[in-house]
């Protein structure tokens, strides 16, 4: 008898504990949701950039989701690349301006036609490929969609999809 009662006790205590844990999971879910980015943050994740006024070999830096975006209109002597954004006759290099090594912003050196990161000496060419130093991969290309002479960042258009499929960007 004594042992039976003991067993039943444990069972009820454990049943209650288990059920409470279930409620705890629900509460944890609500807490997780409270940490999520706010709708207004997500809605601000789209930026439209007009490329029509861009000049060759001059780096434009825009801002998208708090990060710098490099836009470089390529001159004829720069090597074309699959990573280029092509609008009509013009080719642009467009990427997130953060070094893929540790996230510093590389500077553009127009006379040398390359990017140089001051933090650890990483270098990228005008197509964003790493050419020297510690960066493990090319500059990352954000999702974009071409609308006439404008780029909408944050939205994946067919050109971006093609790059993704080809494994040019992650």
């Amino acid at each position: 008898m004594g042992k039976d009662v003991q067993g039943r006790r444990d069972f009820m205590g454990m049943a209650l504990g288990g059920f409470t844990a279930l409620g705890g999971l629900g509460a944890l879910y609500a807490m997780k949701r409270s940490w999520d980015p706010l709708p207004s943050v997500k809605a601000a994740g789209f930026t439209t950039i007009d490329l029509s006024a861009a000049q060759e070999n001059v780096l434009n830096i825009e801002k998208w989701r708090g990060k710098p975006i490099f836009i470089l209109k390529k001159s004829k002597d720069m090597k074309p690349d699959d990573r280029d954004v092509v609008i009509g006759e013009d080719r642009y290099h467009m990427s997130i301006g953060l070094c893929t090594h540790l996230g510093c912003i590389p500077a553009y050196l127009p006379e040398k036609k390359m990017f140089h990161c001051a933090c650890h000496g990483g270098q990228f060419d005008t197509s964003g490929h790493q050419i020297f130093g510690p960066p493990p991969s090319p500059l990352e290309i954000p999702p974009f969609k071409i609308e006439g002479t404008k780029l909408v960042l944050g939205e994946a258009g067919p050109e971006y999809q093609k790059m993704l499929d080809a494994g040019i960007t992650a």
Binding site: V5, R8, M12, A15, L16
Partner: protein
């Protein structure tokens, strides 16, 4: 059982306290205003004028003017009733409506204090009697005639000189009810009925309509200045800037909102807010919009509430069983 008796005592005193500080206190703090079911026939207006007459008599002030007011209100709403009986012709009304388009054209230009409201859904939002009354004499219809020595000086007062034929009024209203009706979204209802005076910053709306996204701070500031200028005009016209309605739905009771919209004078005597003339459906739309913006968690509350309560009911049952097993051999 003793514990239940103790519980009954605790619950009793808790409820008495609750009753005292909530329902009873609020019944003492707020005067009761009879709702009119969104029917506009002047009853409340005439009552109000009569009360003013009584007051004038008691205080020995100008009773003649108060008497005249009562007569004027009675005559006015009797006329409205008469016009409501006329058979309106929508086709004729369309032609006559051209007069209205002179101002109600969506140009967004302030005229005499406010931007004339968009009438796209006037036929479904507003009450028929109210529309008739409004065309006949805007200040009387919206029960703000106390603001005007001569109701002609109301921003829309000139209509009295332009449309004088009763049949024509009936035609215009018939036209609006036929053609300027149809489905209204909750936002449209708010924009058309309220937004010319009331901003709603949580919905990014001002007296100038929805605030666009600006890329450059200069453009945003320029827009803000335009809004401030418009608000200044509204303020001059209304005496004070009508409040932002973002969370008004939680700041006022349901009863207050309803009776206030129906006839602002009953809740805030002397207010410059005009009666808007929303019919029951129109009011429901506006109220829904105020809820969507000001109390957006309502659907979530209603969806989750029962589950949380059910959880604690089961929790309590399990806890009771646990307690019983623990206390079994104690007595």
């Amino acid at each position: 059982m003793r514990e239940l008796k103790i519980l009954a005592v605790v619950v009793f005193f808790t409820l008495v306290t609750y009753w005292g500080v909530e329902p009873f206190a609020h019944s003492q703090m707020h005067k009761h205003v009879e709702g009119q079911e969104f029917i506009y026939n002047g009853t409340a207006d005439i009552k109000g004028a009569e009360a003013a007459l009584e007051k004038a008599k008691a205080e020995g002030t100008d009773t003649a003017a108060a008497q005249a007011k009562v007569e004027a209100k009675k005559a006015f709403w009797a006329d409205v009733e008469k016009i409501a009986q006329l058979q309106g012709n929508a086709a004729n009304g369309e032609a006559a409506f051209a007069t209205c388009l002179g101002c109600h054209n969506g140009a967004g230009v302030n005229m005499g204090g406010v931007i004339p409201p968009n009438l796209d859904h006037a036929g479904s939002l507003y009450d028929k009697n109210y529309l008739i009354a409004l065309i006949k004499d805007p200040a009387m219809a919206s029960n703000v005639d106390h603001k005007y020595e001569d109701t002609m000086t109301h921003p829309m007062g000139s209509i009295k000189g332009m449309i004088t034929d009763d049949q024509q009024i009936a035609d215009i209203v018939a036209y609006m009810q036929e053609k300027m009706a149809g489905e209204v979204t909750t936002k449209e209802a708010f924009d058309e009925a309220c937004a010319r005076c009331h901003a709603m910053r949580y919905a990014k709306t001002t007296q100038l309509g929805d605030t666009p996204e600006f890329k450059h701070e200069k453009d945003a500031l320029a827009h803000e200045i335009k809004v401030l200028e418009e608000q200044e005009l509204v303020k001059t016209y209304m005496g004070k800037l009508p409040p932002d309605l973002s969370i008004m739905i939680r700041a006022r009771s349901e009863h207050f909102m309803e009776t206030f919209v129906e006839n602002p004078q009953t809740q805030l005597a002397g207010t410059s807010m005009p009666r808007v003339g929303l019919n029951k459906e129109g009011y429901e739309k506006v109220k829904t919009y105020l809820e969507e913006v000001g109390d957006p968690s309502k659907p979530a509350r209603e969806a989750i509430g029962p589950w949380v309560i059910l959880f604690f009911v089961v929790f309590t049952v399990l806890a009771y069983l646990w307690k019983k097993s623990q206390w079994r051999d104690l007595h």
